[in-house]
Amino acid sequence: MTVAGDWSYALHRDTNLDLARALLAGFDLSALRKQICDIRPGARF
């Protein structure tokens, strides 16, 4: 992975830890486990 500019390991760790926690707070896990497998024919991702 690339490091540059004002970047630091600690900043990268904390930014992504905050992101993971924020995403998790918005998850309805039981619904999400089913929804992520709902693949529309022709879906590109």
Partner: protein, 276 residues
């Protein structure tokens, strides 16, 4: 990291061994920002510039097979116009590529200068590269990084075990689904996008392989700090028929990728700190 004179000596040795006509004459060598397992040098001759990526043997370890696949991946991406050409490579994984003049797409530049559509075009081209046999999975990376972090005694954030467990569980569900799989870059931090006069190009293919296309969409949007509306617009540019399941899938992969980034930072900081 190697001191500059030693890096220059290494660069000069490779120049001699490759004997490239492009590097004939006086070459000015200067350092560039690098990664956790490599050292990047700019080699400038009067008419052109190149990047020499030297593997840093004291940095985060990477297998030679993986490094060679990364070089092949960048070559394939170049054939579709979304990566700099590779001019020469060594058996150890050091390689010389074109130097791309342009802007690194930091989040604020993507936003202010409206680069999202050009990023999507680059990704759509990249994802047409025939996928290699090697699979890329986020959970494999997480396991590798956590083994490395544990080996060097990295302190884990509070509650990280539960986040790890959930990331593995969700990754297993997505991988077992029929979600689209293509060639992917798999490390789409903003500094790996460069806006050149030929469009947006990508650099640093160390993690590329066959994987869930959603990994690149999730990585590009989350690491560029796009908000929900920006992410939605980005996804719709990529797939005009965007649906709710795709939105949920990308959020889920953003979560897993964020855990991977944390695990990598834990390992890399402790590894490089210990080697310094």
């Amino acid at each position: 990291m190697q001191a500059l004179p030693r890096r220059c000596a290494c660069a000069e040795a490779l120049q001699t061994s490759w004997a490239l006509p492009e590097l004939a004459g006086r070459v000015v060598i200067s350092p560039l920002a690098g990664g956790a397992n490599n050292v990047n040098l700019k080699l400038a001759v009067p008419a052109r510039s190149f990047v020499l990526k030297l593997r840093d043997r004291k940095g985060v370890p990477a297998s030679n097979a993986r490094i060679q696949e990364a070089i092949q991946g960048q070559g394939l991406a170049h054939s579709l116009g979304v990566s700099p050409a590779i001019l020469a490579a060594s058996a150890d994984g050091d390689f010389l590529s074109e130097f791309v003049t342009g802007k690194t797409l930091r989040p604020e530049i993507i936003r202010s200068d409206g680069y999202a559509p050009a990023m999507v075009i680059a990704l759509q081209k990249l994802h047409r590269v025939p996928p290699p046999d090697r699979h890329f999975r986020l959970d494999d990376d997480i396991r590798t990084f956590m083994v490395g972090a544990t080996a060097v005694g990295a302190a884990l954030p509070q509650g990280f075990d539960r986040l790890l467990q959930l990331a593995h569980e969700l990754n297993g569900i997505i991988v077992a689904s029929a979600a689209p799989v293509t060639f992917i870059h798999a490390d789409l931090v903003p500094q790996n996008f460069i806006a050149s006069d030929k469009g947006v190009v990508l650099v640093d293919f160390d993690y590329c392989g066959r994987g869930l296309t959603a990994i690149d969409i999730a990585g590009a949007t989350s690491q560029a700090e796009m908000d929900d509306a920006e992410t939605d617009a980005f996804m719709r540019l990529y797939d005009p028929d965007l649906d709710d399941a795709q939105r949920v899938r990308v959020k889920c992969v953003q979560f897993i990728n964020a855990i991977r980034e944390v695990a990598w930072a834990l390992m890399a900081e402790a590894t490089i700190g210990a080697a310094a």
